[in-house]
Symmetry: C2
């Protein structure tokens, strides 16, 4: 029972629409005080982005036959965390980016102070959503979701990866160091997206399957970053939706600067195969996870 | 069964020491990667501060006979949120403060990027701690704690209050607007500290008593801010541990600029009486909450 490419495209479009609707309806409205803060939070979250993390949660939740509304809430919480991290990463004191998803970055649009606060409040909102009594999850599952998301976001996860990345400007990392950094910076939230999908209810996975999914998730995070580095090296800003070539200009280590473009492409292919191979060993129907993995890989073509 | 002033002092000193030990032992160690980030997180959290929010949680938890170790964990989570908010509030794009608790602020000591990330990671860590399976709370209580803290921290709470405060520079607020702002900026976390104390386990409160405690908590947040404004107007930086007179220099509305010093002092007295009166109507022994309230009031003498 495998989707044709076109039915996968339909699935993705539908999930994205449902996510937009969910965020639109559930985020604090702009007519509520403080107006400017709520506007900035919505600006950075609604109406854009590939929703990769949310789609991974939804695809995984579907695989274990979880309730769709619960999965949407969990997936949207992940998008709040992702949106907050982009706002803060783009700040002048961090990556200093002025373009994101083809729009001015949050601090360019609303000022730096509002951008810092919008990121802070988005993080709080993610945990608020996961802890709502109406989430449809038993308290133990909801608490597990909070823990998975908190660990993935914190100093041993995403924020920690960004700290290592910033510290490495002008101080090139070795390949193992680069992989360790990406495992935190991008990988932690991608791993959490998949694990959180398995805790939305529905069928439970064996320890073995949980382990395979974690391994898959780690590979996927790595694949995403290699492809991102390739894109940063080869695209213009219209294609990329953000300022390209910045990594190179700042002497940051990337897969392309470390391996060269052609080797980086081979590495992406190798990581793709390993990820798909891991998925194929699950007893569940992982068609949408497979397709999402292929899609991440195909971005750099 | 009321403490003498000296036994209250002993109680405070002991709680503070236990909080320091808890934070020292439980925060990510500096020898763990990323070293600089963990150092900044500890710098901003350990070894200073009045621990007012934590003490309020501990005093309330004690009042309902909750487990002390659980109360320590919950109180420490609140301190993480408070520490994160101070780091971000002090940033150049926000209040631009260089002195905090008598030390250079986090961004002065570690750079702005690390300060932003340290604040972000402290927020994540607070929710991680509350969701730990070893917290000693049933899942439903732990989830309630997550929700209370998330709402108090977010755009309708602390972060929202800071946004209103920033937007008001040069645009003086009326007294009702000022009170509404403080109810969010300082009040939300103080209110959460008290409510979270009641959810650490132990005896449960009647709806009526919960309501009285919430009212008390609101008055306490207000009292704290009036006293803070008076201190900002009358102290030097050695006494205050931060840069004084900034509010005045920036034409921010404060209780002192709106009411004058003598009226602000009367207002503090009035709010103190109302807070103590509310506490006295509880059927539980609130001696340490009373003493903490008196202590907040007495700061400006």
């Amino acid at each position: 029972m495998h989707d044709t490419p076109s039915s996968f495209t339909t699935w993705v479009a539908q999930q994205r629409q449902e996510l937009e609707n969910f965020l639109e309806q559930r985020m604090p409205p702009v007519n509520q005080i403080p107006h400017g803060l709520h506007q900035a939070m919505r600006y950075a979250t609604i109406g854009g982005g590939k929703r990769l993390r949310a789609l991974l949660t939804l695809a995984t939740a579907e695989m274990v036959q979880a309730d769709h509304q619960t999965a949407l809430l969990v997936a949207s919480s992940l998008e709040l965390i992702h949106a907050y991290s982009l706002i803060h990463d783009d700040l002048p004191s961090m990556d200093n980016d002025s373009l994101r998803r083809g729009k001015p970055t949050c601090h360019v649009q609303f000022g730096e102070a509002t951008a810092v606060l919008a990121g802070d409040a988005l993080q709080s909102l993610a945990f608020q959503w996961l802890s709502e009594p109406t989430s449809g999850m038993p308290s133990t599952s909801a608490l597990t979701q909070v823990r998975l998301l908190a660990i993935a976001s914190g100093s041993r996860g995403m924020a920690g990866g960004q700290a290592i990345d910033l510290a490495s400007v002008g101080m090139p990392l070795s390949l193992p160091e680069l992989e360790a950094m990406h495992l935190k910076k991008t990988g932690a939230l991608i791993r959490a997206a998949i694990l959180m999908g398995t805790h939305c209810g529905g069928a439970s996975l064996s320890d073995n399957e949980q382990q395979s999914l974690t391994h898959f998730a780690n590979r996927l995070g790595l694949l995403y970053q290699i492809v991102d580095d390739i894109l940063d090296n080869t695209s213009d800003s219209a294609t990329l939706g953000k300022t390209p070539g910045k990594d190179d200009a700042e002497c940051k280590a990337t897969y392309v600067t470390l391996l060269g473009l052609s080797e980086a492409r081979s590495k992406a292919q190798e990581v793709l195969n390993e990820a798909l191979d891991t998925l194929s060993r699950l007893s569940h129907d992982s068609q949408h996870l497979q397709a999402l993995t292929q899609q991440i890989y195909a971005r750099h073509h």
